[in-house]
Symmetry: C2
Subunit: 455 residues, 2 copies
């Protein structure tokens, strides 16, 4: 698992070149680009005041995660989130022009969480990480420093025994210090943080050092870590959000929602160990086929099978045809196919094609948010992958989205269209819907709320 995770992380390089690249609105090459997606876009633009009001009211009732990055896929006929990261990396891939937006959003976040704060401690991922990860950490530190906080890194890695210097590709030196724990608080030498910002997805569990910190804010909360979190719960919440939102602006929620199903612990090496997978792959493919037919979409439906917990990019299997599953679990199963099936709980998600291209490379947008604001994004592009493949893989490149200017804002009196900068307003709306879903998800798994409900 560690190896796969590492591979997924390395997908984030090379990084430096991307900033130099010219940013443009990718051209949608699908034949459908003049149809459904422009209609959806236009509907969103027309409904801007209704949409923004809806978000404001949502955020009165629910708390947005402190930060969040959402992978989107634009198929030309639908746009949907496919992954919501609550411990986002890749901050260094954002356009430098978006920095003031991120800082302003960080100020708003601090004001709500801990206005009296001087200090923020960021908990990075454990272990030695590739250089680009430290570039991302450095950017995160810069954002919160500019928002007016002293920022230091406190590691919860039990193997980190002393202060460790790491260098970013940009030449910045960061100091990672071992976090110290007192009875009720966590901190560093001469450093009492008010808020502890986790940039560690806790895939190996929340260690004791993070427990019972009742005097400090730990954000995102521990249940956002991958031992508690399940992708299927997130997409269940998202489905509910998409239904309500679809009703609000009068669209079929499927246009923004990927169908999914999930299986508990599967083990394809046991007899009937693949049954649940088979049943659900079949069901999701059937749903998607019906929708394709309804909209006259001449594409082959497919599903993506992923581990239901753990970061994206790990152990992903793409299935176009039920027959591909036939060999799984049988004697003589192709080792390759079997190896791709994630172990344990899985989510079977409708595969959403990406019809965007940057210089012929397949691309998908990733939208970054802090508090309730869209603060930037980039295209993840991969020259050696196809429109139905996972782009979070070695060889991916990153092209900052032009959120830097006003591209993510609705333009009054203009229309959408393949070359429209309004595209990014649509992306910002869909990404924020995923953020609303994340806030529901974190409420549903909040141990304190559960205690209250039980009492």
């Amino acid at each position: 698992m560690a190896d796969t995770a590492q591979a997924a992380h390395e997908a984030h390089g090379p990084v430096q070149a991307s900033h130099q690249e010219e940013v443009m609105v990718p051209h949608l090459v699908t034949a459908l680009s003049k149809g459904a997606i422009n209609e959806l876009e236009q509907r969103l633009l027309d409904a801007t005041p209704v949409i923004e009001r809806w978000f404001r009211l949502e955020w009165m009732e629910h708390t947005p995660p402190l930060y969040c990055a959402v992978d989107l896929r634009n198929a030309g006929f639908k746009v949907a989130p496919v992954d919501t990261d609550l411990h986002p990396q890749g901050w260094h891939n954002l356009s430098p022009e978006t920095l003031p937006l991120a800082v302003q959003a960080a100020q708003a976040a601090i004001e709500k969480v801990c206005p009296e704060a001087h200090n923020l401690m960021i908990v990075p991922e454990n272990g030695k990480r590739p250089a680009y990860y430290y570039a991302s950490l450095a950017k995160l530190q810069e954002i919160f420093h500019m928002a007016g906080l002293n920022v230091r890194f406190g590691s919860i890695d039990p193997d980190l025994k002393q202060n460790t210097e790491v260098r970013t590709p940009g030449g910045t030196t960061l100091i990672i210090e071992p976090a110290q724990r007192s009875r009720y608080r966590m901190g560093l030498e001469h450093f009492e943080p008010c808020t502890i910002l986790l940039n560690n997805d806790l895939r190996d569990g929340a260690p004791g050092i993070l427990e019972d910190l009742h005097e400090q804010y730990v954000l995102p909360p521990l249940q956002a870590g991958w031992t508690v979190r399940r992708k299927s719960r997130h997409f269940q919440c998202y489905q509910d959000v998409a239904k309500r939102f679809g009703k609000l602006i009068g669209i079929d929620p499927w246009l923004i929602n990927p169908e999914f199903a999930s299986c508990g612990h599967i083990n394809i090496h046991e007899p009937n160990g693949g049954e649940c997978l088979r049943t659900n792959v079949k069901a999701v493919l059937a749903k998607v086929r019906r929708k394709y037919k309804e909209y006259g979409i001449n594409e082959k439906p497919f599903v993506v099978v992923k581990a239901d917990h753990g970061p994206s990019g790990m152990g992903i299997m793409i299935v176009h045809d039920l027959k591909e599953l036939d060999e799984i679990g049988k004697d003589g199963a192709q080792a390759k196919t079997a190896a791709q099936v994630p172990a344990g709980e899985v989510i079977i998600q409708e595969g959403v094609l990406t019809s965007e291209r940057i210089n012929d490379a397949v691309a998908e947008p990733v939208v970054y948010m802090i508090d309730r604001y869209v603060v930037g994004g980039f295209y993840r592009a991969h020259a050696e992958r196809d429109a139905d493949e996972n782009l979070k893989a070695p060889g991916a490149r990153f092209v900052p989205l032009p959120f830097s200017s006003d591209a993510h804002l609705p333009r009054p009196g203009t229309t959408g269209g393949p070359a429209s900068t309004n595209r990014f307003y649509m992306y910002g709306v869909i990404a924020r819907l995923a953020m609303v879903a994340a806030s529901y998800e974190l409420e549903a798994t909040d141990p304190e709320l559960a205690e209250l409900a039980a009492a």
Copy 2:
């Protein structure tokens, strides 16, 4: 008075050329630029977390005006606000790159004031205005539209009887509609605004149509209009803020505070009508002279006499020497000098030199804020004026400040200096101090708070 106001307004043109101009950090030409101001700047940069925390705590107790523009003067040895506009125009002079910041701040403002809003009504200035005013209105509409509101213009001008189309220099057409009043609400046909945003400084008083709107938010509140507002009250509040802030970061408040005094109704044409003016000009000049001596500043102190109410740029007199006042009120007074003395209540403010230049033109920064955020700014530059003169005059040009990127944000690990982009962090801090003062001022004149206090 209308003519002077008009002249002040026309000072805002020409506008279009300024956007094309290259934006740079003006070079401070004063010999002192390597001294005091860099020290002040460095102090502010070092104290960033303390400063930002201080602002956060202020905004927990006080409500920032919805928007605000502050004229600053950087003398090379001190930086001070000289005018705080609570109904700012000139939005079109901001760099287009700052738009997302303004929109994000507007979203934060709406969320606090009226989250359930669909509609916002902007009340423009009365009468026919020069084209650049409509360019500013169009930009304001754009900002709040992009923040997710339907925005229409409702005029309170009794002479405006029907919908009127106006064109901006950029070619946009705006529709100004006569505001309609029902018993408790104000609005337009088929348009129920939740918030009424005044871009009208009510210099001729708050008309009845604006009274008793208990079901809607009128922002800024009526007491921000010039019949109630007094510059001397603002600068009294600012002085208190500067003292506390000076203590916080360990600086002499004079480095950020312009000395001032005020006179009630003066009439220089009456016997002894100029006495108060004379006494106070003398007192302020003496204070400034002492400070110049203390800091070894080899400049001639001067004061600016302005009407205590009414927009800036109107009826301003600059006095370097008490002797200049000798002729005033006497028979045979020079008509020119006497005409410059504002009638009625006056404020006598320490003149703050501006040591900034753009292509040899004297320049002063103007900082724009929405809610508690700095969202942009520009340099007001005037080629035919001197460092001790008012630049708000016909012939002024506008060069957007590079707030567009991260220039207004404190850079970790870097220092200030004449060419430093950190200059704008300092300007943002001083402008926000003036905004804090404005919030105190509006509380002090709030009729509802006065009623509560009396009860």
